[in-house]
Amino acid sequence: MLEHLLLQAIVVPVICSPAIILGRRVCGKKTAWIARAGLLYSTLLLLFACLQLAVTSTPLVEHYPFAGPAIKMNLLGDGLSLPIALIINLLCAALSFYADHYIDHRIEAIYGNVDKKTAVNHYTRFYALFLLFPTGFMGVCFATNLIGIYFFLEILPLPLYFIMAMFGYVDRVRVAMICLMWAVFGAGFFLVGSVIVYYHTGSFAIDSIAGLSGTPAAFWAILMFLITIMAKMAVVPFQVWMPWVHAEHPTCIAGLLAVYANIAVYVMLRVLIIPLTGDFQVFSLPLMTLALITMVYGALLTLGQTDIKRFAACSTISQLAYSMLGVCSMTKAGIDGGLFFFLGHIMGKTIIFSTAGIIVYTTGIRDMRQLGGLARKMPVTTVLWIIGAMGLAGFPPMNSFPGEWIMFTGIFKAGLIGSTGKLIIAIAGAAAITLSVVYCFRSVKTIFYGPLDGKFANNDHIKDPPLSMSLPLLAVAATAITLGIYPKFILDLFHQVVSTIPLMY
């Protein structure tokens, strides 16, 4: 079972995907359990790998041939990739349970009361596509060469495009196209960066990127990769796709969209900061400045939203920039904290987005101004939203709290040993968290507090969702709290890799 563990994590979902399609005639909607079982299995595998790594400190390396000597599909499970993959897989598993009712609701909303066979077709189609997400994410995490990362990054927009177009909201087809175009845009630059690396080093392997160090080509390669990363992370001025894409997709993949954007931080670390530490220093201050601008801009944008899904989408713009700020501070604490905050953010965002989905599912309303007072009839949903808000605002005991603390320790360190500009960014960045607190808890007030509208008061359908929707989110919340109380496990794993980066602090 533990042979080819990393490969299994990537391939199991892909195997499950056609199995769902093939089995739908016989098992109907029950084939979704294939997806869930596959994801739970790979989550357990990854948990085991993390535990093993924590004990042995020996990274898992698997060698697979791919396309000649220049491109090998080797996989690496180290202190960086394994914990990130574990949490992402966990979220995928949780959302596979959450999606059960939600996707039925979307099918009904979009396609009307279709016959059972058609409904099953739509339903299983969703799950078959859904499983490409974990494959893409695991691939990005474990790939050891640029073509591998490019390949898996390119896989991700495909399920996104089709799920969006088939199960999204009002403007779904156009937005699916926007999403795909932005993915192509980013991928193009990634490819250019990869070609530059290959041209100068003769290899696509991430290990060989260090060969560029100190050459002018390093600057251009970094720039190309950075454009991709910033486009993925919706850093200002590349943010315009995010509100559309996050607002129009079905919320059962919302958490994965946050991962889709945030995983760029991991790529930045893996492809740029670790191999090209010295060359990346010159980008540190400009990127930190952009991150600060994005944090504030995203927060203000969030405050201006009235649509519950756009609200969550815009907050993602702001939150993603926190991780970037930490990682680009070029301190070990900043990187450790930035990555840990990344985990906190994707978990918090999964909860918030999915809870937004519950509200839309239950009330059919997206305009927050038309909501209000829901806490009275939906207490569990309220608790979930507040937990998500706490996660985004960095309150203890959520795991974003230690992430934020460690990350800002690094950012302040960068400011105090570096330029005054970085210190100003550090102080402004810490103060900017206030805006997160404002928009997170203002949304609690708008949606859940205040008098209950008459249209809800007498409506028996306005109630907490079925357990299959709330339990997975509560499990994610429990994991986030556990990691908040005991972050050492993950941080120690991170440190196995981060400590090797030649940084002074």
Binding site: G188, W220, A333, W405, F408, L416, I427, F441, R442
Partner: protein, 673 residues
């Protein structure tokens, strides 16, 4: 001994799930869990009391490693005089208030949520005061803020009867959910600025442990101060948190609105405990800056004490003036709380300004914290009982309540007299100790402000008592009487008030002894354990003690007598003429010095306007440009070229071609380069 400290923290937290489970079974089980755990926590804290009698055995620490990478951070507790005193105050008063809550909240549909939040608050507050490092303190700090938010907005459905402000038609009213959010955000601003200060401190000191910070300060503080203005910056940033949490100027505007919460919440969180956490943190950080100033000889370190003292003085005065005209019973007490905490800040501020006032200022500030916690908790609980009976938050709807609620009246009278600083109650001892420390530090402007504030305090307290208990019965009360006669609060409620009143009397009679005990503890802690340089005060030209007592008593009389004649006995009738100076002053105080309006205009309206501008102008236009105009431009400029490729999803192909062109050019450029 460590075990008791840990238990004091853990027990209320264990109570939370048990209250939840109990609420699913029956009310008695829930109520038992709700009070049993705070009481057990208080008993554990009491078990620590003997340590205060032997301060030379302190400090005691117990900790374990929380994270080791990227740096070592620990979680632990510190038992020293400061943490022990706060632990006792928090746990005992919390336990009493928890009992009172059962009566006050009886029949409320949200009682389980309320009780869980109260238990979470007690546990978090004890984490805050017992933490041995700034990280764990910050955890407690954030959690108590969160509990405060939840409890202020407890009546989240915003029923009109829970709105505060007003009276209706006279002033704008606010909903509980808004008040909770306001408190969270205003204190949050301070918290996050403080976080920056803590991280700068961590950078220079390399530790967050309090004892290590103190012991290594002579080394790292001068290094920090070598950076121009760094000590000033750190002082300001570190004080921002306590300023917010303790509702001091300029972040004091959230506390009056915090009165939207149920009465016991106001007593527990917004009078007796949480708002004191700012005072506690200032006292906790003081030795660092004292070492910076008097050991490492960094003049910049003085700014910490100067800001503390002045913030305290300004707040004490401003809040007291607002208390003079307030019409809501709990709001008068809220302004009073803000003002009294200002006194504590004065005490701590002047403590570091000279080497002679360190122990006196510190023990005075902390003594006032203790006495204020007791008498203000008593006042709030009594006020809660009165509001419970009269079904109104406005003092003008009360009057003559002494007849109907004699036991509540008695307790409230004792607490009110204590608030005014009448001898021999503890308020007298502690307030005079602060005044004396101010005078000994030769900070005359602050001393004068403090003396004036004593008179203002006496005035608003007497006005409150006069109107509520002595004045003529209000039409509202008369109307209420017709439906059901006003009556004394249930035994569980007046019992809690009575117990606090008794504690006031005991502490008053033992005031000098308590003061001496505190003085001894802080002498041992600061001068002997931490080895801070402390000088004894020289001979004064005249008896400062006597002078302070005389001035203090005279100020009380100057405030209380006219207030009694106007509002109590009604022998003087006053009519404020429009456009007179009194009228202007009244408006100024009633509008809270226009500070709240200013904040609303700049920070709330301003931020929302900017947010709208960003969302609807900048982002919309940019979005249109990138996601619509740019593809349109391509499709319009190159229609013929791409006509063959036109499909249903034309934009896709056009944009694809456009992007590919960019990519190819870039690749070409890179290869050529």
């Amino acid at each position: 001994m460590h075990l008791y400290a840990w238990l004091a923290i853990i027990l209320p937290l264990i109570g939370i799930p048990l209250i939840f489970i109990g609420s699913r079974i029956n009310g008695v089980l829930r109520n038992t869990a709700a009070i049993a755990f705070p009481i057990m926590a208080a008993l554990c804290a009491l078990r620590l009391f003997p340590l205060l009698l032997h301060p030379e055995q302190l400090p005691l620490e117990s900790s374990w490693i929380w994270i080791t990478h990227p740096f070592i951070l620990e979680i632990g507790i510190l038992l020293d005089p400061l943490s022990l005193i706060l632990t006792l105050v928090v746990s005992i008063i919390s336990a009493i208030i928890a009992v009172y809550c059962l009566g006050y909240m009886k029949g409320d549909p949200g009682i389980s949520r309320f009780l869980m939040l109260v238990n979470l608050f007690i546990g978090s507050m004890l984490i805050l005061v017992l933490a041995n490092n700034l990280l764990l303190l910050f955890v407690g700090w954030k959690l108590v803020g969160l509990c405060s938010y939840g409890l202020i907005g407890f009546y989240y459905q915003d029923d009109r009867k829970y709105w505060i402000g007003g009276p209706e038609g006279e002033a704008p009213m606010t909903t509980p959910s808004f008040c909770g959010l306001k408190a969270l955000v205003v204190t949050g601003v301070g918290d996050l600025i403080m976080l920056g200060g803590i991280l700068i401190l961590f950078f220079f000191a390399g530790t967050l442990n309090f004892m290590e910070l103190y012991s290594s300060a002579p080394t790292w503080f001068p290094e920090m101060a070598r950076n121009p203005n760094m000590a000033v910056l750190v002082s300001i940033m570190l004080l921002a948190g306590p300023i917010g949490k303790s509702a001091q100027f300029p972040l004091h505007e959230w506390l009056p609105e915090a009165m939207a919460g149920p009465g016991p919440v106001s007593a527990l969180i917004h009078a007796a405990t949480m708002v004191k956490s700012g005072v506690y943190l200032v006292a906790r950080l003081m030795p660092i800056f004292y070492i910076g100033r008097w050991v490492a000889n960094c003049p910049d370190a003085t700014i910490f004490f100067t800001i503390t003292a002045w913030v305290g003085a300004i707040t004490a005065f401003i809040a007291a003036t607002q208390g003079l005209v307030a019409k809501e019973l709990k709001k008068i007490l809220a302004f009073s709380t803000v003002s009294q905490i200002g006194y504590m800040w004065i005490g701590l501020g002047v403590a570091g300004l000279t080497q002679t006032t360190l122990v006196a200022g510190t023990s005075a500030g902390i003594f006032h914290l203790i006495s204020h916690a007791i008498f203000k908790a008593c006042l709030f609980l009594c006020a809660g009982s009165v509001i419970h009976t009269t079904h109104s938050i406005y003092i003008q709807d009360m009057g003559g309540m002494r007849r109907y609620m004699p036991l509540t009246w008695l307790s409230m009278m004792i607490a009110a007299i204590c608030l005014m600083g009448v001898p021999p109650l503890p308020g007298f001892w502690s307030k005079d100790a602060i005044l004396l420390a101010g005078l000994e530090a030769h900070h005359i402007p602050i001393f004068i402000i403090a003396i004036i504030t004593v008179a203002l305090t006496a005035f608003y307290t007497t006005r409150m008592i006069g109107i509520v208990f002595y004045g003529p019965e209000s039409p509202h009360l008369q109307h209420l009487q017709e439906a059901s006669p006003a009556h004394e609060a249930p035994a569980i409620m007046w019992g809690a008030c009575g117990l606090l009143a008794l504690m006031i009397l005991v502490l008053g009679l033992g005031g000098p002894w308590a003061e001496q005990l505190l003085h001894h503890n802080f002498t041992v802690n600061l001068a002997e354990t931490l080895k801070l340089p402390v000088n004894h005060a020289g001979e004064h030209p005249f008896n400062y003690h006597l002078l302070v007592t005389c001035l203090s008593v005279a100020s009380i009389l100057a405030g209380a007598v006219p207030a009694w004649l106007i509002y109590g006995s009604g022998k003087i009738k006053i009519q404020i003429r429009a456009n007179s100076i009194f009228s202007e002053l009244y408006t100024l105080f009633w509008r809270r010095w226009y500070i709240d309006s200013f904040y609303n205009l700049i920070f709330i309206d301003g931020t929302l306007k900017i947010a709208d501008f960003v969302a609807f102008r900048i982002e919309n236009n940019f979005d249109t440009l990138v996601n619509r105009r740019l593809p349109d431009l391509v499709t319009e400029t190159l229609p013929n070229l791409l006509l063959r490729l036109k499909t249903e999803s034309e934009n896709f192909l056009y944009i694809g071609a456009y992007l590919m062109a960019i990519i190819m050019v870039t690749i070409g450029f890179a290869l050529w380069h």
